[in-house]
């Protein structure tokens, strides 16, 4: 019986140590050989130190608050069987893992790491390759996705997943991640109060960043380059978009930024460079566009449908093929104090503001909207003459669509 007491005593000491968080090592030569085994043996708040090696595992359920820490990037190979890590507990940290071969399915969205209904999680320094979905946050909150690298090999939209996906989640920070070659780099659906910061999302099949029905979010300092289209923000409101770079999003339906049914948002300090369309705007109201640079785009702004109460102030429009295109004769938006490199007016009173207003909509952009092949006549003398006559007496373009105070110098 004495032995029994001793055993109870020892166990209680062990469990006390567990409360203090112990470290369980996992490696091929260790007593614990797999992550799954480690999770079973671990107590809450323990750290699983995963040593360098290859772990052929999938469907790892993290159901207690643990830290999964990789040492020298151990490889977790899912062998295309399905989901690899599923987190269902609060306070989980995943750090320094190299996860490959997520199973592809047409019925379930297998992810490399999924967080379900959990709070206060951190996923950082993780590298994902050969994936379907990357990091999938489902009904979770107050977490952080930091400094991960997601490199997919997506070719088609229908059989590929998103890099980082947030679904019904809130108060989450997505920062300094690199996402490439997936369907949508970062995808948000019904997710509010999200901060997306300093990520680099490139070469994705569909969008670099995609919002649906998500409000009160902000994204700043991100780079979106060479995606099917840069960023799509749809059916959302109060989105703050600052200091991002939208670059080289080329193609027939491509754009740097798509705004569809967006209200009460801010777009400031962004750079739109060499996109087929810089910003495509549909049914979006009360948005402030300020201090953005539109450089070498096919169309800097393409405005479709009813858009009211938007203001475009102090932006630079540099060497775009078309500055603004409108598909209606009505205009309820304000253009003021922008710099237009296509402006040919003068400033006799030297106050830095052109003396004659600038009309950013050319007749030719209407013709191209109607008959796309006519784009080949861009910069021809004939078109210049037609544009000039339209400028003198507008027939097709909104009469009041003009920047009354065009800046003479580029705004810094």
């Amino acid at each position: 019986m004495k032995n029994t007491y001793l055993l109870v005593f020892l166990i209680s000491i062990c469990s006390m140590q567990n409360v203090d968080a112990s470290v369980l090592k996992i490696c091929a030569a260790c007593p614990i050989k797999s992550i799954k085994q480690g999770i079973v043996q671990a107590n809450a708040n323990d750290t699983l130190l995963i040593k360098k090696g290859v772990y052929k595992e999938f469907d790892i359920q993290v159901n207690k608050p643990l830290t999964l820490l990789g040492e020298n990037y151990p490889i977790i190979d899912g062998s295309d069987q399905g989901e690899i890590i599923t987190i269902t507990a609060d306070n989980v940290i995943v750090d320094g893992l190299f996860i490959i071969n997520v199973g592809t399915s047409y019925t379930s969205d297998y992810a490399a790491i999924r967080v379900v209904k959990s709070k206060h999680f951190i996923i950082r320094n993780v590298v994902l390759e050969k994936l379907f979905f990357g990091i999938y946050l489902e009904k979770s909150s107050y977490g952080k996705v930091y400094h991960n690298k997601i490199i997919g090999d997506a070719v088609e939209e229908f059989n590929s997943g998103n890099g980082i996906q947030l679904w019904y989640s809130n108060n989450i920070t997505v920062e300094k991640n690199i996402v490439q070659h997936v369907r949508d780099g970062i995808y948000l659906e019904f997710s509010d109060d999200i901060i997306i910061k300093d990520n680099i999302s490139t070469n994705n099949i569909r969008y670099g960043l995609h919002f649906m029905f998500s409000n009160n979010d902000s994204y700043t300092g991100n780079t979106f380059e060479n995606n099917g289209a840069g960023v799509a923000v749809m059916f959302s409101k109060k989105i703050r978009m600052h200091n991002n770079v939208f670059k080289k999003n080329w193609g027939a339906a491509s754009f740097g930024l798509l705004l569809k049914e967006i209200n009460d948002s801010e777009i400031t300090g962004n750079t739109f460079e060499e996109n087929t369309v810089g910003i495509s705007i549909e049914g979006s109201n009360r948005i402030d566009y300020k201090n953005n640079d539109f450089t070498n785009n096919g169309w800097a702004l393409k405005v479709r449908g009813a858009c009211y109460g938007n203001s475009f102030i102090a932006n630079n429009f540099l060497y775009n093929s078309f500055d603004v295109s409108y598909n209606s004769k009505l205009n309820d938006n304000l253009f003021d104090q922008n710099y237009w490199s296509n402006y040919t007016g003068y400033d006799l009173n030297k106050n830095g503001i052109g003396d004659i207003p600038y009309r950013p909509v050319k007749l030719f952009s209407y013709i191209v909207n109607r008959t796309p092949e006519t784009i080949i006549l861009l910069r021809s003398l004939f078109m210049d003459i037609i544009d000039f006559s339209e400028k003198v007496s507008p027939v097709f373009t909104p009469d009041n669509l003009q920047d009354k105070n065009p800046s003479m110098k580029r705004i810094r």
Binding site: A252, T276, T371, I375, L377, R379
Partner: protein, 271 residues
Amino acid sequence: MPLRQLQYPLNMFKILKYSFFDLMRSRWSYVYFMFYLLLGFVLLFLNNDISKAVITLMNIIIVLVPLIATIFGVMYYYNSKEFTELLLAQPVKRTSIFLGQYLGVAGSLTLSLIFGLGIPFLCYGLFRSMVIWDFALLLVVGGFLTMIFTALAFNISLSNENKIKGFGYAVLMWLFLAVIYDGIFLVSLIVFEEYPLDNFSLAATMLNPIDLSRTLILLKLDISALLGYTGAVFKQFFGTNLGFLVSLGTLILWTVLPISRLMLKSKRKDF
């Protein structure tokens, strides 16, 4: 026979040399040169932005260079008629005379263009800017247009003894290729918008050297807009190097064809 073969190109270069000297000393070469010099400086001064100046220049160049080359070519041909007759009586092959004169005119015009625009842009720090390739393209296109339109002008004057008529036809040709052609082009695109027009519009572009040069410029400046069009042929053409190569190749063809007609015509003509 070897002597004869050797003398042919030799004589041509001699004539080229003297035509060139003649032109380099003529007032008009200087007017042309000064015009470009002024244009370059004024544009750079007004814009104070080298990229913007290059874009403006590209728009101007594709219309103005053909006009100047046309007028200059016709003028030179008619003014040097007696010189030509003097040469015709010399033991020189006819094609050498006309090719030499043609190259003299086209060469001096091209040089005026290159130096006239080159100097102001160098002063404003071309080599330190990002637009050096745009500028190089500008000069290449300008050079081609000069060659093509001088050749066309020579062809027109060679076929018209009457100076006024020759002048009229030449200016009409310019007006047609620079403005009217695009008007017809645009109207036919709009009228037939129901049909696939990719091939038609590319072909129509190839058939006009001004449009062709414009395409080369579009490829450089407006590729973002061009890729917004859905047609597969367009995509293939503008999205790859194909467009650039085909345009350049056709431009060379456009240069070679009038020159060969010039040589053929010059062999048959009575003076």
